[in-house]
């Protein structure tokens, strides 16, 4: 059992730390207004990329370092230690870039990966829709092919992070409604400035717009915008989702919910640390979060041995979100209504977490998947298997009307 760096890793860590220490003054302050913050973050990502601290696991031919997951985590840990921001485009570099690397054409790789890595072009993920969240294969956004080979896209996407300043989006659309739902999907690259694209901020409980809605009204994209071939959209999406799981699973600490943080918040009340009831709740929460921390290390260790983690890796997010909800509840119970001041971090946490709970698919569906794929339990009866998508929708409408 070894959680410690090898000599090579230790040397790498020293180099990373040294660079960050030397250049930390160049990092942007996160309390800038968005219009100044985003350009500053772009510049910072470029600096990180140029010095090998973005796309650590990307192949070298696309500007990456060709290193393993451990080195990637070392970079993340040192960035956290240096108290500087990480890269701006976590979604592009962490999930969408790897998808293009896996499924894109040579032209697509040549055209898009470099600017993505250097934050010249930020990316967003256009998968979820109002009626297709956990059940992602139910997307309704339609793509119709023209005689010249180009496509026309119409529909609505939602929960899109960074859309307001993205250059491109990776978009999942339905190209054939007459086959079962997983089979009629295609993945596209969408220029976000194309005519017919409307972006609207979606405010959350806190009042902040953490996400966007993206409306597509007969948007034209060229034939070469297809990633992974027409009709293969579901397989391409699964690759993105696997990288999403890795990003979340190995970086649950990255959500910022460390036990130490809550301990410090609770300790602001002078009586709290001597109250057995508070201590019990604080202990239970901390145990969950410590388990996630070491679960993350176990995952990383598996990755390094070449094992691809299964869906159970998604439990890290479930555990983290549930524990963080309990934690902010405890803080507010201890501190009273003052903790609900919207300007404070506790109120923000209380507002933010319910939305995070369903982000990336609900806990219920995750538990179904783990029960069936990991424990081998029999499947939930599925009423949508093998039925053409168009028929399925008609059935639903009928059921609601009843």
């Amino acid at each position: 059992m070894d959680l410690n760096d090898t000599p090579e890793q230790a040397a790498y860590r020293v180099r990373v730390a040294a660079w960050l220490h030397e250049h930390r003054d160049e990092a942007p302050a996160l309390d800038l207004p968005e219009e100044e913050l985003v350009p500053a973050q772009r510049a910072w990502q470029r600096r990180l990329a140029e010095n090998g601290m973005a796309g650590v696991t990307w192949p070298e031919e696309f500007g990456g370092q060709g290193l393993g997951p451990i080195e990637s985590v070392i970079v993340g840990q040192e960035i956290a230690k240096a108290r500087v921001p990480g890269i701006l485009d976590v979604i592009g570099v962490g999930m969408l870039g790897p998808t293009i690397i896996a499924h894109g054409t040579q032209e697509q790789k040549g055209r898009y990966l470099g600017p993505m890595l250097h934050a010249d072009e930020v990316w967003c993920q256009l998968f979820s829709e109002p009626a297709a969240g956990s059940d992602l294969a139910a997307v309704q956004c339609r793509a119709r092919q023209e005689d010249d080979g180009s496509w026309r896209l119409t529909g609505q996407k939602v929960w899109t992070t960074n859309a307001q300043f993205s250059a491109h989006g990776l978009l999942l659309a339905r190209t054939d409604a007459d086959v079962p739902k997983h089979k009629g999907l295609t993945m596209f690259i969408l220029p976000m400035d194309a005519e017919g694209v409307t972006i609207r901020g979606l405010r959350q409980i806190s009042g902040e717009a953490e996400f966007n809605e993206v409306f597509l009204d007969d948007v034209r994209v060229e034939a070469d915008a297809v990633v992974g071939g027409p009709g293969n959209g579901w397989g391409t999406a699964l690759t993105t989702l696997m990288f999403e799981r890795l990003t979340i699973g190995s970086g649950a600490e990255g959500l910022g919910y460390r036990p130490e943080r809550f301990v410090e918040l609770v300790a602001r009340d002078e009586h709290a640390s001597a109250d057995p009831e508070v201590r019990r709740r604080l202990g239970e929460i901390s145990i969950e979060l410590l388990a996630v921390r070491f679960g993350g290390y176990r995952l990383l260790s598996m990755l390094q041995q070449g094992t691809i983690p299964g869906p159970e890796a998604g439990l890290a997010k479930v555990t983290t979100v549930s524990a963080a909800i309990e934690a902010f509840d405890l803080v507010a119970d201890v501190l009273g209504p003052d903790a609900l001041d919207e300007a404070g971090e506790t109120a923000y946490g209380i507002s933010f977490l319910p939305g995070l709970k369903s982000a990336g698919g609900t806990e219920e569906i995750l538990r179904n998947t783990i029960g069936e794929r990991v424990l081998g339990l029999p499947p939930e009866p599925r009423l949508d298997k093998g039925i053409p998508f168009s028929e399925l929708r008609a059935k639903e409408r009928e059921a609601v009307a009843k």
Binding site: Q204, E270, V334, L340, S351, P354, E364, D384, K395
Partner: protein, 373 residues
């Protein structure tokens, strides 16, 4: 035995539902988050409906109804997130009514709006009257009473901004407790208006600096009553909110489909919604206990009121989270109503001592009865 509502109670309930139905209270709850001025003034509605004098004696112009009738009105207020100043006024009116206040007519009419400074009665393990302070400490000493002069601060006083009369509970150097009716407009009284998270709820930090007022003819038990009565009002209000959360969750679970099935057909959703129902039923049963004990078994009222409060606050917390959860991501957006119910739940569970304090008091009352403390 008949625990069903009487015809009069059904009438009171329906009238409240009608009166409140004329105002877009839920929309107002959202608007007030950005513009506190958008909070509608429902006090005229309350006066017109007779709620200001609901529990004031008939001889003073009140309706002389029971505590449970007040709870029924609060259920309706909670159902639509109406911000009426009853959580402050009703317990204050009860103290003024029982304590022989001079101008009860104005209280009953609502031309004088009252509130009280929540002061927790002693328990088996904290044998002193305490209040909440600003900035986190949940057990500060009660307002000090020196002769007829009151000094001290009480935080998170419901409906304090704009109240005409404050019922202040003071403790003198000898540990004796008294309640005084204080004119809120006098020098020596300052009210700092605060809202926290739920813009429908008007709160205030009240500071007294040598203020004085009319001493009410109440003993310690009579004074403690306000605390428990207020717990039942908060409980009732929460139950109303739970009912709306449940109805809205059920409706959405029938029409939203995933993997070819309405989500309400999945056990995870179905069982959680039944849990909301279970908690609602339990909280309501305890509210009935509180109402009954208030009339017929007053020594059990502290237990019943605390139990109802804790159960209802917990039920609302659960129901509001479930409302968001059933709606998936959309339930966590500003445009949706779910966050308004969630905000209500988050603040309510932490008012008047918090639901943890109420739970602790249930244990304390039972331990005391068992002779264990």
């Amino acid at each position: 035995m008949n625990l069903e509502l009487s015809q009069e109670q059904e009438f009171l309930r329906d009238a409240a539902r009608n009166a409140l139905g004329r105002v877009k209270t839920v929309e107002a709850a959202r608007e007030a988050l950005e513009d506190p001025g958008a909070r509608p003034d429902l006090w005229p509605t309350a006066c017109e409906a007779g709620w200001a004098g609901l529990i004031v004696d008939e001889e003073h112009g009140g309706a002389e109804l029971g505590a449970f009738d007040a709870m029924l009105v609060m259920i309706e207020a909670g159902r639509v997130l109406a911000g009426i100043e009853l959580l402050g006024h009703l317990p204050a009116a009860a103290l003024l009514n029982a304590g022989g206040y001079g101008d009860l007519g104005a209280i009953a009419e609502g031309t004088q709006r009252a509130t009280w400074l929540p002061t927790r009665p002693p328990t088996d393990d904290v044998p002193a009257w305490t209040v909440e302070a600003r900035g986190g400490s949940r057990r500060a000493p009660a307002v000090a009473l020196d002769g007829d002069r009151l000094s001290g601060t009480v935080a998170w006083v419901p409906d304090a901004p704009g109240a005409d009369v404050l019922v202040v509970i003071g403790v003198d150097a000898g540990g004796e407790v008294a309640a005084l009716a204080v004119d809120a407009t006098q020098d020596g009284v300052s009210v700092e208006a605060v809202t926290r998270y739920d813009a429908t709820r008007a709160l205030g930090h009240v500071t007294l600096d040598g203020a004085t007022g009319q001493r009410l003819a109440l003993d310690a038990e009579g004074i403690a009553h306000a605390w428990y009565f207020a717990q039942t009002l908060l409980a009732a209000e929460a139950i109303g909110t739970v009912e709306t959360c449940l109805a809205s969750s059920v409706a959405y679970a029938k029409e939203r489909f995933t993997f070819g099935r309405a989500i309400g057909s999945y056990q995870a959703v179905k069982h959680a919604l039944v849990e909301v129902l279970r908690r609602r039923e339990n909280a309501y049963s305890l509210l009935v206990y509180a109402g009954w004990s208030h009339e017929d078994r007053r020594d059990e009222f502290p237990l019943a009121a605390s139990a109802a409060r804790a159960a209802a606050s917990a039920a609302l917390d659960y129901a509001a989270r479930e409302l968001i959860s059933v709606h998936g991501g959309i339930g966590a957006t500003w445009e949706h109503d779910a966050p308004l119910f969630f905000r209500r739940a988050q603040l309510s569970r932490r008012l008047l001592g918090g639901m943890g304090d109420a739970t602790d008091r249930v244990a304390g009352e039972l331990l005391a009865k068992a002779g264990a403390v």
